[in-house]
Amino acid sequence: MSALSERPLGAVVGAAVPHEAAALHVTGRALYTDDLVGRTKGVLHAWPVQVLAAHARVTAVRTDAATDVPGVVRVLTAADVPGVNDAGVKHDEPLFPDEVMFFGHAVAWVLGETLEAARLGAVAVEVDVEELPAVVTVRDAVAAESFQGGQPTLLRGPDVEEALAGSAHVFSGEFEFAGQEHFYLETHCALAQVDEDGQVFVQSSTQHPTETQEIVAHVLGLASSEVTVQCLRMGGGFGGKEMQPHGLAAIAALGARLTGRPVRLRLNRAQDITMTGKRHGFLAQWRVGFDDDGRLTALDATLTSDGGWSLDLSEPVLARALCHIDNAYWIPAVRVNGRIARTNKTSQTAFRGFGGPQGMLVIEDVLGRCAPTLGFTAEELRRRNFYAAGQDTPYGQPVRHADRLATAWQQVLDSSDFSARTASVEAFNASSAHVKRGLAITPVKFGISFNFTAFNQGGALVHVYKDGSVLITHGGTEMGQGLHTKMLQVAATALGVPLSRVRLAPTRTDKVPNTSATAASSGADLNGGAVKNACEQILGRLAQVAAEELHVPAADVRFVDGRVRGLDADGPSLPWEDVVRLAYFSRVQLWAAGFYRTEGLHWDSAAMRGEPFKYFAYGVAAAEVEVDGFTGAYRVRRVDIVHDVGDSLSPLVDLGQVEGGFVQGVGWLTLEDLRWDERTGKITTSSASTYKLPSFSEMPEDFRVSLLDAAHEDGAVYGAKAVGEPPLMLAFSVREALRQAAAAFGPAGTSVDLASPATPEAVFWAVEAARAAEGAHVRDGGSAPPQPQGPPIRPESERVLGQA
């Protein structure tokens, strides 16, 4: 056990405590950025001028009529930008564009005394455009060779062509699947104010306050020290508030600088959906080889992601997709190409899993389609291909703890009563003509860390006040994932005080600078390390004070549950508060800045090789579904999950992440149906009534989740693993169960194609195809997928391999 991962006696980490703000949430007293508006005097409201064309040159923006609208204070245009007119870090996202790149692109913003005035003002702004040809779909982009960014290739093992030639079975196919709208319940919001001497204070719903600060500074032409960003909490982020808040915060800040008044910019739902990025949809083209035992011999695939109009995080998302195409499976020969389509859509971005889910979906789809053709059950085919100890991933990282995969798999088989239920599903199907069931089990292996080495650092500030109360701040943001709860538990554990002694202040860039995005599931690893480090600095000093008082060596001083003593638990002790007071009067520093950096990572983004992940998180899910053959409608009857979170820091929080991630994954794969009008480029599902999130009706009727036992992780704070992203991919089990239920409408051994999302309509067509014994559209043999020849991903654009 490492010093980092070892838990002291009486640790507060590991206790199942409710969310730190639960009492505020349930009483409506928890504050979000937009809740501050009523507490702020003289606020102006911003409204975008959105151009309704997918691609067009802006030839004129006339604002006179808008400024005549009563209550309109000012219209912001490109001419107002004192610094850099760009919302991103790659300089390909003009904040006030002169070329409209997607349907609904905002070219100007109106500030009004009321939201109504700003809205009417925006209607009055006249924008002249010259329409240009637009590329809307991935396939159109491929045909037009419209790509952007690097085109990485992941290569490993024997030559793929030879390996395929030597394989007993070779199949090829295609799979185009949809992205996903984040639909955090709280839409994007920023409130900017100008402080003394032109300094800017922006409250923003952002997962990455430091980057928001940097973008605000560069747009305004200020130094970072002149801009402070605070994030109270977010009403959900899921990766959607990692890059996308920056430009919006910059607009609000620009408005505040120009008018001297606070400016609130809150997107309504339709604006949020039409203007901000989403999970990337992909087109996958593949060839795969198996031997006679069903073991994978080779994979040759090309993944084309739909990046939208600018790069944003598309390159690292693509890299992570490539690095997860193996999921839990050993594939000796691998050639996977990636490329990013440039389309006239919103700029797609981070979303829980960050490309990982897309890569894994490809291999799970391949296995699900090929299993019947190979004559194996899907369960058996998956199990045969699991990684074994000593094997490494296609990018050369040893698969540490591969045995946990088999352990979790077996636990789910046992706890879900898998074989008996498989038999009862078969019996049910044999006796039911119109309704069929399916039961499927799928694994998850997911790598944890930012690959961009610099991002693997965390900072914290811990204050102990004279009365013994503790205030912590750290670089991570709270979006519901329970990071603050965990950080409070880490601080209480490290200081040996009760949880109630510790309070947490909102994330601010003037408290902890140069923070990383709260993303890549790494928030607790990085910031927890930093909080612990700060606490240990303080304890080191307090130990000296206590040692003198208790007449024991400083090394023997223990801090346990608010008392300070020597090694002897029954020996003399002092209350924590007394030691703190003594220390103050002895002029001992009672606060500390903590810092943490993850050791032992390396990554060559051009070669796509290295050890980018600190560890892997594992999980297994078994899902049973029931499909109505008349309509394709279905319900999820039961789900059993075993998931590896290491030694949980906060079991109630972790359970929530597993369940919530799972249902969000089910949403992505079955229900959430992002549609663009392929002619106009308009999103036709830009509202809650047209873009359907999972509701109570999608919750598994019987939902059994447990955390993997004996799962200590040596390389992370108090032995816990990250949990934010990996559970999303447990939802593959539902998709595969739907495929099997659809197959049950056809003759035995039917192989089924299933569109993604597998909406009732998609399932209905799969059922119809099964009834017609059509079989999946996988071809025997087939030719190589396209082999893009673009440059690799440049290290400087490879900011992160994992965020969301």
Binding site: P18, H19, A21, A22, A23, L24, V26, T27, G28, R29, L31, Y32, D34, D35, G38, E116, F183, Y184, L185, E186, R233, M234, G235, G236, R269, A270, M479, G480, G482, D628, F630, T631, R635, L652, L655, G656, E659, G660, G661, F662, V663, D673, R675, T684, S687, A688, S689, K692, P694, S695, F696, S697, E698, M699, E701, F703, T759, E761, F764, W765
Partner: protein, 467 residues
Amino acid sequence: MPSPSLTVNGRTVPLDGVPAHTTALDWLRESGLVGAKEGCAEGECGACSVLVARPGTTTPTRWTALNACLVPVLALDGQEVVTAEGLGTPDDLHPVQHEMAVRGGSQCGYCTPGFVCSMAAEFYRPDRAPGEPTPEHGANGFDLHALSGNLCRCTGYRPIRDAAYALAAPDADDALAGRQTRPAPAATPTDVPGFARPADLPAALALLAEHPDAVVVAGSTDHGVEVNLRGLRARQVVAIDRLPELHGVSVTDEVVEIGAAVTLSEVAARLDGAVPLLDLLLPQFASVLIRNGATLGGNLGTGSPIGDAAPVLLALDASLVLVSAAGEREVALADYFTGYRRSVRTAGELIRAVRIPQPQPGLVGFTKIAKRRFDDISSVAVAVGVDVVDGEVTRATIGLGGVAATPIRARATEEALVGARWPDVAAAADVLAGEGTPLDDHRASAAYRRAMLRQSLLKIAAAEVPA
């Protein structure tokens, strides 16, 4: 008339100078009660849910959860509202808040105040009583559908369900439970610039005659969306949801009559099984939050081709009672719609009631095709009523939604069915697949809609075998 006011969490606050389009949600948030959130502004997410004291069917008052984002705040003149802030405080949590907090029912917390209000409404349901648990009912009698209009993006719902199912009965001294035993606030006539709530039907009709461009609002579940998402700013709004003349429900041997302004939640409760086809529809209509406001008059008043009430009422051969300052007339629903969102109803005319002739068909069935089981708009809706005598269909009425510019009767299929042996409806189902002119859109492809017409009849026939 006194100036309008609203009682929130026990405090009465004036509504002076509030524009007619201001929603209860915006007004609450501007007055500092920021617990209720906006997640969608169109009645879909429930983050804005609040409790309103409404007349009950089993107790004088019933705490009713509504979407504050849809209701004009002026429509709440004289009413009592409770928000999450009013239910409890961090030091003194309401039982619903306590269960939500300790069971991990909140993650980001943004949906939580809305869930708490919807859950509290069900907590206080006077006839909620312990019973056998089912997948959608707790052992404490909690009906999970009470939360069908609330979305959570974080939790996956299981802890919220557990919180709901853990609730006991309200304490004997629970103030809000006590409030249900006293009469609900009466409807307060309101007359401020741009917004009027007339006291009775004659006054309403007079107002409509005076303002030909006035917009009638009942539950505002459709109107509110127009205001929020499409910028509708009516010069004059006339609230009709509390007009006594639009609130009758009567069942005789000849006819069932349902007042146009009875909310769908009340329709279900007050009909008490008298119209089985409506009992198939109503649980699938929107969410409880919406049904607490939505009315049949509003559903037909929009003239929407995808409204769910029309196919059902068409299958029941219903007619509408239209009323204006000039008097009443009755129009068969089959003759009511004239084109996309158009009808024979003239300006100044209101739907007063819906009439369903008796006897109703002996066998009824309804299928709603949608992506999501709870709270989704239909891509196709099929309502069927048939009489079967000695295994032969003697009468058939079929209403369709989502396959044409208006809801339609499937006349050719009806003809094909009469004389057929029930349940052998394959030939009629093929005819049904050819009815209407289904289109491709984001909800469904035309091919799927067509297939669903056929499949719906097959499904209904498979389920509805005469006893």
